[in-house]
């Protein structure tokens, strides 16, 4: 049986390495452009490590068992009458419990940090309407394009004039529905300049797929100029 365990571990390691290669060779997440998304990516990798371990374990046992204990169709013997094992059953109740609670705690901490507004964030109102976005910076500045200064926390207050929409910039990793009748909020702290896309992710009718807007992250000076320009 010792030889069997070694073989099982070998299969598990091979599967683990293959899955790890899939996880690291492809860039599964968009390059982060916000501080919030950096923290989200940390949990993503934490969950990925756990997932690789569990998937490798389960599939290794399945592959190993079939390889080792497969019998021809006319075999008519039974296996050993093993009904259970209290220690094992306790282990596979307790260990996953610890793992998921760890993910839960990490997630709750990140959620709290991503929801903490610092001092005087830039207030932007985002209004969804079939099938456009409108960004209101102040009474006299309204834009169809989202422009944000880099490094400055922005708080979006969202609503919709018709149906439910959802505001998402993949590189910011932050998303929130714009719901008619209520206001919702979300924080984004852009950490690099560049051009991104605002995507609507809640089915909102026949134009849903085309409900996109441009998002630009610029330096504070460029942002101030842009605001002036809009006012003029």
């Amino acid at each position: 049986m010792r030889k069997g365990i070694v073989q099982l571990v070998a299969i598990g390691v091979v599967i683990g390495v293959l899955v790890t290669l899939v996880a690291v060779l492809f860039q599964w997440l968009p390059t982060s452009a916000s501080e919030e998304f950096d923290r989200i990516q940390d949990i993503y990798w934490f969950a990925t490590v756990i997932s690789i371990a569990i998937f490798s374990l389960v599939s290794a046992v399945v592959v190993f068992s079939v390889w080792k204990w497969r019998v021809p169709a006319d075999d008519d013997e039974d296996g050993p009458p093993i009904h259970g094992h209290t220690g094992l059953e306790m282990a596979w109740t307790a260990i996953p419990a610890v793992l998921v609670i760890a993910i839960g705690v990490v997630s709750a901490v990140v959620l709290a940090r991503n929801g903490e507004a610092g001092n005087r964030p830039l207030e932007v109102q985002a209004i969804g309407q079939q099938f456009t976005w409108k960004f209101v910076y102040s009474d006299d500045v309204t834009s169809g394009e989202l422009v944000l200064p880099v490094g400055q926390e922005a708080r979006f207050t969202m609503t919709s004039v018709d149906v439910v929409h959802a505001f998402w910039v993949p590189n910011f990793g932050q998303k929130m529905d714009a719901v008619p009748g209520i206001e919702t909020t979300i924080l984004v702290t852009p950490k690099r300049t560049g051009e991104f896309t605002v995507v609507c992710t809640e089915l909102c009718g026949f134009g849903h797929a085309t409900m996109r807007a441009k998002a630009r992250v610029v330096t504070q000076a460029e942002f101030d100029d842009w605001l002036q320009e809009q006012r003029a």
Partner: protein, 648 residues
């Protein structure tokens, strides 16, 4: 089919409770059946229409003719009732109510004497089980074709074949058919066939109710499909039908609102039937701790159905009332609360995920134990973990709403309960692989699908952990990552287990064996093309492609093309299944009564089973999975001759 010969004698012994109409023509027109169902549906449609027009005219409402209201009431309430009355679902009850004599032991509508009996109201749970499966696989085919159609559209960015509203309709009807007309009722069909046999019962507790539950399904299915004919096209607000989008949709949305009522009523009635059957009709000695895990799974599922389904019924009625009665449950202008819809909807639709999974857990437990020749590892913990999922399943619905703008404080508690569900689910997965350990493994087609399920479901479960974590969900919600996740759970999970169950019980249902080689080809084609279709969706989703879009960024073009090709192969793999099943049903080799040498009761009777299942009531003496225990038996079939020896 062989069942017919065994059945014929009963029809003569037990005459029908009332005289059939005289003469073949009158019998055809006025006897219960599809012809009477057809004209009565028409008649009731006219009656419903006249009622509405009469009332509107009486109150001088303008216009007297309002298409949506006529369709909703006459088309989707009275006409289906006419159809159900016509095929004879209510005949016995109406006779009873009207005071005419009825025979309690009337079995004229029980069992199939010819293939035609499958198109009638039949009270035999084995016939109903097959009726369910054939019907649900029909809708599976339609739903799959719809999916291939919109996958063709998605092969390239931009619009090629259909307009955007039609695209939304295809996506919505695909999901609706797969959920309400395939996964949920296919499990109900398998359980209908297997559960009474496994319990040692002659039938379900309420056979007439069972027949009615089945006939509600085609009503719902036709309604969903007919929405394509409605002006404005099929309902296009997704299977989730979020308000207020659904309230401003064209007429097709009403077909969804009402179709869900019929499918839901079918589910609830079947679930009640299962509960009463499992509680009251167990054979002597069949304690709860000796029930096969499939029975446990359906017991738990039925509790979920009975408690949760009224919520989706309510949510769809409210949307329809907003649409046609101008109430404002979910319209903010009238003081309605938009998120209220999502809360009510998910209070059903999250438990529904377990309704669509737990029966599969049961099937896989049966298959893995029988094919590994070993007792299920940790039987009691397996049953208890089902109950754990049942309880936790009602406390997680708002994890579908992490980005919906609901009360902030709800997020963390719902995240914790969601993550905790991984524990009972993990127990099940680990127990299955422990059952394999040191077994004598027969790699038959049902076993391949069961093992395919275990590995694929783990992927679906692990992507569920990502989505359970609120911050990751904020990024991944409403993207193709969700589409990948639900297909790993519902296709790699539920559909694989349905295939496992169909292959496993096929010899019992038909008395014939399927072709093992074709079964294996079917499995490998499905397994590979399934992964090629759905695994890349994780990637495009995380990278930024939202779900339910006909157009997307050009960067995702290549992968979407690959996905589309893979989805076509997946479609082709299903043809192998259909060919195998149809051919084997007609001329497969005659099956033994117990080809898997399984211990549960359905395998201790002939294939197909006798019309009332057991010639003598079995006496259950031990658990159902005592493989390898010398001399152990699950039941003895003739208690008078053999003294029951109690194990366990």
């Amino acid at each position: 089919m062989t069942a017919t010969h065994q059945a014929s004698s009963y029809g003569d012994e037990y005459p029908a409770h009332f005289e059939p109409p005289h003469g073949p023509t009158r019998q055809l027109l006025f006897g219960p059946g599809l012809v009477r169902g057809g004209w009565m549906a028409g008649l009731f449609f006219v009656l419903g229409t006249l009622l509405i027009l009469g009332l509107r005219w009486w109150w001088s409402w303008d216009p007297v003719w309002e298409t949506e209201i006529v369709l909703a009431i006459a088309g989707m309430v009275t006409a289906p009732i006419g159809f159900l009355a016509g095929i004879g679902s209510f005949d016995y009850w109406l006779h009873y109510i009207s005071g005419r004599p009825t025979r309690p032991e009337d079995h004229s509508g029980h069992g199939a004497r010819s293939w035609k009996d499958y198109f009638r109201v039949n009270t035999d749970h084995k016939v109903i089980g097959i009726q369910y499966l054939v019907t649900t696989f029909f809708f599976f085919t339609v739903g799959g074709l719809l999916a291939m159609f919109f996958r063709a559209e998605l092969a390239q960015p931009g619009l090629q074949f259909v307009d955007s509203q039609t695209f939304n309709g295809l996506v919505s009807v695909h999901a609706t058919l797969m959920i309400f007309l395939f996964v949920i009722p296919a499990f109900a069909g398998l359980a209908n066939f297997a559960v009474p046999l496994m319990l040692g019962a002659p039938d379900m507790a309420f056979p007439r109710l069972n027949a009615l539950s089945f006939w509600l399904l085609p009503v719902a299915g036709v309604m969903f499909l007919a929405s394509f004919l409605a002006p404005g096209g099929a309902f296009g607000a997704g299977w989730t039908g979020y308000a207020p989008l659904a309230e401003g949709q064209p007429l097709g949305q009403t077909f969804f609102n009402m179709g869900v009522q019929w499918a839901g009523a079918s589910s609830i009635m079947t679930a009640l039937n299962f509960l009463v059957t499992i509680i009251t009709m167990r054979a002597p000695g069949m304690t709860f701790w000796r029930m096969p895990l499939l029975v446990w799974a359906n017991f738990t599922t039925s509790l979920l159905v009975v408690i949760a389904t009224p919520f989706i019924a309510g949510s769809q009625f409210f949307v329809m009332f907003d649409r046609i009665l101008h109430t404002s449950f979910f319209t903010p202008e009238g003081g309605g609360y938009v998120l209220g819809y999502q809360h009510i909807f998910w209070f059903y639709s999250h438990p529904a995920v377990y309704i669509m999974m737990l029966p599969g857990f049961g099937i896989v437990s049966e298959v893995i134990s029988a094919m590994s020749r070993k007792p299920i590892f940790g039987y009691r913990l397996m049953a208890l973990s089902l109950l754990g999922i049942l309880v936790l399943g009602f406390s997680v619905w708002a994890h579908h709403m992490f980005v919906a703008g609901m009360a902030d404080w709800l997020r963390v508690p719902m995240m914790i309960t969601t993550l905790l569900i991984a524990i009972p689910t993990g127990i099940k997965v680990f127990s299955w692989i422990a059952t394999l350990w040191r077994g004598r493994i027969h790699l038959t087609t049902p076993m391949l699908f069961a093992l395919g399920f275990v590995t694929m479901f783990v992927i679906g479960g692990l992507s569920g952990i990502y989505l359970g974590s609120v911050p990751i969900d904020i990024h991944a919600s409403d993207t193709y990552f969700i589409v990948a996740h639900i297909h790993y759970v519902l296709f790699g999970g539920s559909v694989f287990t349905i295939f496992a169950g169909v292959y496993y019980w096929f010899p019992k249902m038909t008395g014939r064996m399927y072709d093992e080689r074709l079964g294996k080809i079917h499995f490998w084609l499905t397994f590979v093309s399934f992964n090629a279709t759905f695994f890349p969706m994780h990637y495009v989703g995380l990278r930024g492609m939202p779900r339910r879009v006909f157009d997307y960024e050009a960067a995702f073009g290549d992968l979407n093309f690959v996905i589309t090709i893979a989805s076509f192969v997946l479609g082709v793999s299903f043809i192998v299944f259909v060919y195998n099943i149809m051919l084997s049903w007609v001329r497969g080799p005659i099956a033994e009564s117990n080809p898997w040498r399984a211990r549960t009761l359905e395998w201790q009777v002939s294939s197909p089973p006798p019309i009332f299942n057991f010639d003598e009531i079995p006496q259950v003496v031990a658990g159902p999975y005592e493989y390898g225990v010398p001399g152990a038996r699950h039941a003895v079939m003739s208690p008078a001759k053999e003294a029951p020896e109690v194990h366990a």
